[in-house]
Symmetry: C2
Subunit: 369 residues, 2 copies
């Protein structure tokens, strides 16, 4: 409570110098469309690779608040971004539950222990984020303080379904063989797991909000591999519980919640019904069409194809204009990629992208400032 009180004093609403991300998420007027990138602090930046080399492995970087803060701020020093996003991993909760997260070079995340039986699920401990994930909260506080009210800080978590896929498969997956066998043959075991994860995610995001996160995003990276019926039962229902369980306000401001289901373009109406503030769109969904469907209820975030960052500056510029025109005029749009930026991208291309959003979006917002 002390840290929350301190935070509240540190940052009254008026103190945020650039709050257009928060305003756009709440569909309040903005002068230009805010922009950030999923995975904006990452391997495509040489300065990230240098800090990462200092830290050793990926999890050591996440666990070191000063270095995590450093890499979080790196993209903001280069580009005119409207938000910072906590540098961390979506799999910190399963790690805190004792599964032993590690990263094999070029292989993606792996767990030393995986869940194979109902007993494994029953034995999973509940996490207390302030105790078990204290290193994340220290990072959030450090970053929040270092930002000094320049732009808002976005906190995040993986969705329960997405976390469950890694915990059951043991890492990344293509066909989700084991977790889908649970889903179809032992749904009660999967529900037990999702229930535990949901409680942990609520606690985790609320702790991030208390520590300084001014908006949060739930990454449902693998919701799109489910049938419509299974998505609603095994992914969306739990995200809805999370949305309803989050601290609605902190430091005098509403804390927007963004749901991002990759491959979720068919389910926007159901996602909006959760009560979330905004929906993140991958690049396959037409944002104008999405606005028509759910724009009266939620803001929309996205959604340029990340592959555009390998194209010419002129092509990037043109696609940014196309997406802005598709969304149309008025607030409620946070520009982003439709998925995370990849390590092979030239940072100069990111500048072209960010600047194009700001430059071309002026005409979408008719404000007398």
């Amino acid at each position: 409570m002390e840290s929350l009180a301190t935070s509240l004093k540190q940052s009254a609403p008026s103190e945020l110098k650039n709050d257009r991300l928060l305003r756009a998420l709440l569909r309040q007027p903005v002068e230009i469309t805010p922009v950030w990138l999923m995975r904006q602090a990452g391997r495509y930046l040489p300065e990230y690779r240098a800090t990462r080399a200092k830290a050793g492995d990926f999890m050591s970087l996440c666990r070191n608040a000063d270095l995590a803060c450093q890499v979080t701020l790196q993209p903001l020093e280069r580009f005119d971004l409207d938000a910072a996003i906590l540098f961390s991993d979506i799999l910190t909760i399963p790690d805190a539950m004792g599964l032993g997260l590690y990263f094999e070079e070029g292989e993606g995340p792996r767990f030393r222990k995986t869940l194979t039986t109902e007993r494994d699920v029953e034995a999973l401990p509940a996490t207390d984020s302030r105790r078990d994930l204290d290193y994340v909260m220290t990072a959030v506080r450090t970053i929040y303080s270092a930002l000094g009210g320049t732009v808002p800080l976005i906190g995040f978590s993986g969705s329960p379904w997405t976390l469950a896929t890694y915990m059951v498969e043991g890492g990344s997956s293509r066909e989700f063989i084991k977790v889908k066998q649970w889903l179809y043959d032992q749904p009660e075991v999967l529900h037990l797991l999702l229930d535990k994860l949901t409680l942990s995610v609520i606690d985790y995001l609320n702790a991030q909000i208390e520590a300084g996160a001014q908006a949060v995003q739930i990454f449902d990276t693998w919701g799109g591999v489910l049938t419509d019926v299974a998505y609603r039962e095994f992914s969306l229902a739990y995200m809805e519980r999370i949305v309803k369980g989050l601290t609605p306000k902190a430091r005098g401001r509403e804390v927007p919640v963004i749901l991002f289901t990759k491959g979720g373009g068919q389910w926007l109406e159901a996602m909006a019904d959760t009560g979330c503030t905004a929906i993140g769109l991958d690049w396959t969904t037409n944002i104008g069409n999405a606005r028509h469907r759910v724009g009266q209820d939620v803001a929309l975030q996205g959604n340029m194809d990340p592959a555009l960052l390998r194209a010419s500056p002129a092509s990037i510029d043109q696609e940014v204009q196309r997406i802005l025109a598709d969304y149309g005029s008025g607030s409620g749009h946070v520009f982003n990629l439709g998925h995370g930026i990849t390590p092979d991208i030239n940072p100069d291309q990111v500048r072209v992208f960010v600047d194009a959003v700001h430059k071309h979006s002026e005409k979408c917002h008719h404000l007398v400032s």
Copy 2:
């Protein structure tokens, strides 16, 4: 022309013993819902593996009409399927254009030559299927004859966009880096390639129809990685040209055309507008919702999650009933998986699936027979 004349004599409409696939595709009454499986002739069958071992590599199997016929018929001997599908590969056209298709064990398809410049695309020869893909037509004739009118034979091709991805990337891809660079920076080169492929696909499918194919499916395996705008311009527009370029009738019957875009659930209305007979759905789309959207214009094919084939017989049975109920009563539904069956599946599970479709679908069709 001789072979067409012969075919016409061999099979008047009345001679097809089980034509419920064709009737369902044309939304004409059927007594039970027809069913087949994408990749039904394949590695999950021990008898397929035996024939394949005899043939040597995969392309030798495709090129040997007798063996291709043998593996096409294998699943029909085991299961009560309502259609046969030509055993071949989607990449036969690029191979016939001189790219040198081969398969590395466990690696998927590869090309000896890939397209890297505009000149490579200009140099691509047009294919004449009756000359350059004669082995496929021989296989179609052989299979058609061996089927003896028991069930219809489905011919197929990859979509131009899907073929282009392999020709530019050199094989399977995750991020489609090179072909998307063409798409965004040199769209005219990609259009030239797609145009050439479209002419070849039209010729190829018409040759299959002439040789005995009674329905055709266009596999747009990778349309779902595109933005909405790019999908319409670079994939769907070419599929529409194909639909309009196909022989509408053969042997006295309409030849239905099925479009299958994996990940295409957001674009069903646009797909239906091509004039296709049916749309194949992957498992992420709710078939009841899809019927509501486009069921007045097209039939629907699909769409059980292939992962169900690893679940218990009771789970398969329940999911089949769920999908049948979602579609509702009346014709216009061809049951299938939402994607191809994988090699690890126990064939007994396929029997459970096929039989469940027939058993439970009786009540969807109120016919006095």
